[in-house]
Amino acid sequence: MSVQRGVIAEIFGRLRKDSLGMTGLVIVVVILLASIFAPVLTPHDPLEVDVYNRLVSPSWQHWLGTDQLGRDVLSRVLFGGRIALKVALVAISVSMAVGLLLGMMAGFGPKWLDRLLVICFDTLRSFPTIMFALAIVALTGPSLNTVIGVIIITSIPVYGRIVRTQTQALRENDFILAERAMGASTARILRDHILPNIAAPLLILASMDVPAVVGMEAGLSFLGLGVTPPTPSWGNILSDGYSYLRNSPWPIIAGGIPLILVTLGFTFFGESLRDILDPKLRGKDGKG
């Protein structure tokens, strides 16, 4: 649809004028590409052990050195990015979808449903994440899916609450009453009128949530609660490198920088998106 393409082109056009947002976007795109093309980009197998070349410093052979088992750190960082982004993508999209549904039900539905859902959200949020993760891991054992599950469960209330508040604020608006007077059903109002109004804040929240989720995955893996070795994950790289910090700082540096980049990239991008998606500012240049 031409209108849709127009909106995307417009958003991109505005983003180009915001240098910080553009920096964020570039970082995000680089990280995405590096993770997607990790197998092509790395000459080494991230799991290949080479005991004769343990903890070597960066060289042409190993750009970021090797770890305590002689594995190529660069390869592990790139493959670790795949894990991190997979967790982020799956966890955020699932928790956003479920949070959206529950939040709309709470915000638009009857009062008793709202109370019930809010109690559920608050109960989930009141658990400290790490404690909660420990409990789950004790039950199921550490794995990638456990990490994703823990993050989904702890993120649903975050999205749910935001959607609920936004829906509640919107439902009292005249245009919703006008829609009702025009004969729109509840499903139609939610889908065609409430959703477009909360899509922007939700996208921004999701973008800002990526670093938190990536950090959580790294943290859980670092503690041995997440992705199990030898699978490369930024958390595992950090925890492996931690013991050899004095002799060889390279694994720690290599595992830490992507985390910082993810945080900066998605935050810059998200903040810039927040300014751009403000409908009051939309369409001001050009035809407006």
Partner: protein, 320 residues
Amino acid sequence: MATPALDIRNLSVSYQTDRGELRALRNINLQIPAGRIIGIVGESGCGKSTLISAIIRLLAPNARISEGEILFRGDDLLGLDPKAMRALRGNEISVVFQDPMTSLNPVLTIGRQMLDVQHREKHPKAKKRARAIKMLERVGIPDPAEQLNRYPHHLSGGMRQRVAIAMALMTDPGLLIADEPTTALDATLEAQIIYRLQQLQRDFGCAILFISHHLGVIAELCDEVVVMYAGEVVESGTTRDVFLKPQHPYTRKLLDCDPARIKQATRKLPVIDGSLPDLLELPGGCVFRPRCDRCIETCAIERPELKGDRHRVACHVAGL
């Protein structure tokens, strides 16, 4: 006589509040003949908005229709199931709301909203779009095709109200309810919108229920007028009769307060002394009695009925 577009019989609506039952509308009788424009006047809080909500059956959850019926082309709206009622809304009965600044969805383009109104029709998008453009043209929006790609905040208040009217008329409704559509606009725009509404009414032939507290607008636009006070109809009749020969003391005072009718220069605008009665504890007899200067003994005891043939008035002393 043909069946009226809307026939409200003995309608009473009350709200359940913490302080008790608030009787917002009491025994309302009102007829809107097909293809006519009926105006409702009354000060804030007289039940105008409750009446609209009752007609389209979108009352607040704590409201209750205690008695009466609302006949739309002979069928009682209160007896319809929610689905059938929803099918009528925006199709046979449309509403234009007071504030055009808030009655359009801010994040959707005008075009999307105008296409959305036609969601019941199975036409291809291009045809719906063409209809939207045609409608915008009819309400007097310049360059309508271009406007479809704009967001509501790009348009002025008057333009938005025209869009709202275009949306309401899109489905060719039998009844258009206009809830103070010009109150939020300035005087020049008000005149333009009124003129446009008149013209559209002639073209579409729909009945219009026009709510306003601006007497001049009512006089200009409406065929008949209903005067409401504190949840009751106190006087109704042709615009000519009501404005030239007001019978009810409230109508007279209301007309006296119209700044357009004051002949002498004055710094003090006339007011009606007192305020609306507490709808939780209604006084017995006539509701207007506490503010009326012509009341007699009967007024305190007996509630006046709406009497008369074409020019009807609810007052014991009217015509005396």
